[in-house]
Subunit: 321 residues, 2 copies
């Protein structure tokens, strides 16, 4: 990174960035697939200041759960890491306002959206010295700081936009997949607590090979369906026989919500990331909207508060606003 | 099938069909992927006769290992099954000459090529009443008769041609994948005995989820690589971390052959089906040829007899010759 020259004359005084929420796993592709949505997402306002270093000015929308300490906050820690990699940590100072538009622990890549917003913002402030591909390892490192593991299935779509495949980690190999234009997500976040760590611990270390074969047949079918814009094939393929059966236990009314989504004509229904958010995948906004509405009505009848988001796949990723 | 009308006036007197050998698994896609090659393959000559029923006239190239008894021979048994499904078993008689151009138990889909040749031949003789899609279940049933399990990863590419994905079995869902034009296979069959059943029994029933994730990341990468004709991605993706480590034990000089193939510039190298045939996947005929030649030279130096086949992906499948 030392070869990246920063033209300090052209460093901006401030920038405001939005980075999107993401649906990791994409129902059948545990740990390898994910896609970005238009909304919700997180916002970072970044200001250049005289005094070198990285500081957090304020955080909104986190219900007081995130640290303001710049060393402990993931966003500032990542920004610092990037400045150090560029060798300019002594030459520049920034202050950050983080505005969260989505709940923490929702299974919608909340920490990834903040991390990506922060890193995209500092890169933009500096005049875009790094490509998105070069920013990716910093985003993965941010995910490690936030969650204790360097998974990329949220940060990759949050940064690259669209639908991404993590082919492998040694080295990190992110592939952008085609996005069928009529693909919509109807997302519902039931306001119950499912910490990512617990959701991970439920999963068995070993699986039956025959179930793994079923799973990778479906993954392969989904990839083919995305390339061919074959919505039927996408629907036939989006089944998770390995992870959903255990994780669904943590999500109230999961199978009832699934039935409602499919009744409304959704192509598929499953858990977003490690939950508790659920997602109905649909052809067209109308069906996604109907499915999400029906699910939310059901949760309301069960006295479970929820949030609803309906979105196409966001093909752009983070943006300066 | 009872709705298929056969016009007995137009039934041919004889037909000669070639069906191709196939490389199942395609290195990383255990039980779901496979592709057809131009050569080797099996031939069926079929003659209409007066007396109803299905009989085997002769078998060449099997070293006397296949039964001439029409009820025990897979080819004739499948042809009979099809005539019964059409409800015309009392109205037509055929005799079959089977000419095998490839060794039995080679891992190149020998039984599938014969089955597909037989079923394609009877369908053609009858005036093509069934589509390839309609023939597929009979081919899978033939595989069950021949091997004791109804896998489709050899019969699907043998019948459909090209590269096929078996997305799932309930119901059978075969997807034709795109074929990058420069994709070649350099196949070497070391003449050692590896019965399919033994090769299957070696495989563990349970696998680590983290290895399964690596495997399906690679499978997804391979599908994307095929759609994008991205040879680098194809090469990066064609690794088998689950099956190869155990099956390679049965194949003499496996890792030496792998090293030679990669030295010659092959994109990937692995086991064809359950072996002992091995396959170097290459961009261009030249590299495939060099890799296969180098492997064969090595086997010769080790006093292991072998056969070598170099071929593009056969996109047509069976054909009348």
């Amino acid at each position: 990174m030392e070869d990246k020259r920063i033209d300090f004359q052209n460093v901006k005084n401030e920038v405001r960035v939005f980075a999107p929420a993401t649906v990791a796993n994409m129902i059948c592709g545990f740990d390898i697939l994910g896609f970005a949505v238009d909304f919700p997402g997180d916002e970072v306002k970044m200001y250049r200041v005289e005094e070198p270093g990285v500081r957090i000015r304020s955080i909104e929308g986190d219900e007081g759960r995130l640290p303001l300490d710049a060393d402990r906050n993931t966003v500032s820690a990542c920004v610092k890491m990037l400045l150090e990699a560029l060798g300019i940590q002594e030459q520049i100072g920034v202050e950050i306002e983080l505005i969260k538009h989505m709940p923490i622990g929702s299974g919608l890549g909340s920490s990834s959206a903040s991390t990506v917003a922060g890193l995209f913002a500092i890169n933009n402030l500096l005049g875009d010295p790094l490509t998105k591909e070069e920013l990716m390892p910093f985003c993965v490192e941010g995910e490690r700081l936030a969650c204790g593991h360097g998974h990329a299935d949220n940060v990759a779509p949050a940064l690259m936009g669209g639908i991404t495949l993590i082919r492998g980690y040694n080295p990190l190999d992110v592939i952008k997949l085609p996005v069928p234009t009529e693909l919509y997500a109807g997302i519902v976040f039931p306001k119950v607590d499912v910490p990512t760590r617990d959701a991970r611990q439920l999963i068995k270390e070993k699986v039956l090979l025959k179930d793994a074969v079923t799973q990778w047949g479906n993954i392969a079918g989904l990839i083919a369906g995305l390339y061919d814009s074959d919505y039927d094939l996408i629907g036939r393929s989006m089944h998770d026989v390995l992870i959903e059966p255990t994780r669904a236990i943590l999500i109230p009314e999961f199978y009832e919500m699934k039935q409602l989504a499919l009744e409304e004509g959704a192509l598929s229904f499953g858990i977003s990331g490690s939950g508790p958010s659920v997602v109905a995948i649909a052809r067209g906004k109308d069906i996604a909207e109907k499915a999400a509405t029906r699910i939310q009505q059901h949760l309301t009848a069960c006295d479970i508060e929820s949030f609803k988001y309906v979105s196409a796949v966001n093909v752009d990723g983070p943006k300066v606003i």
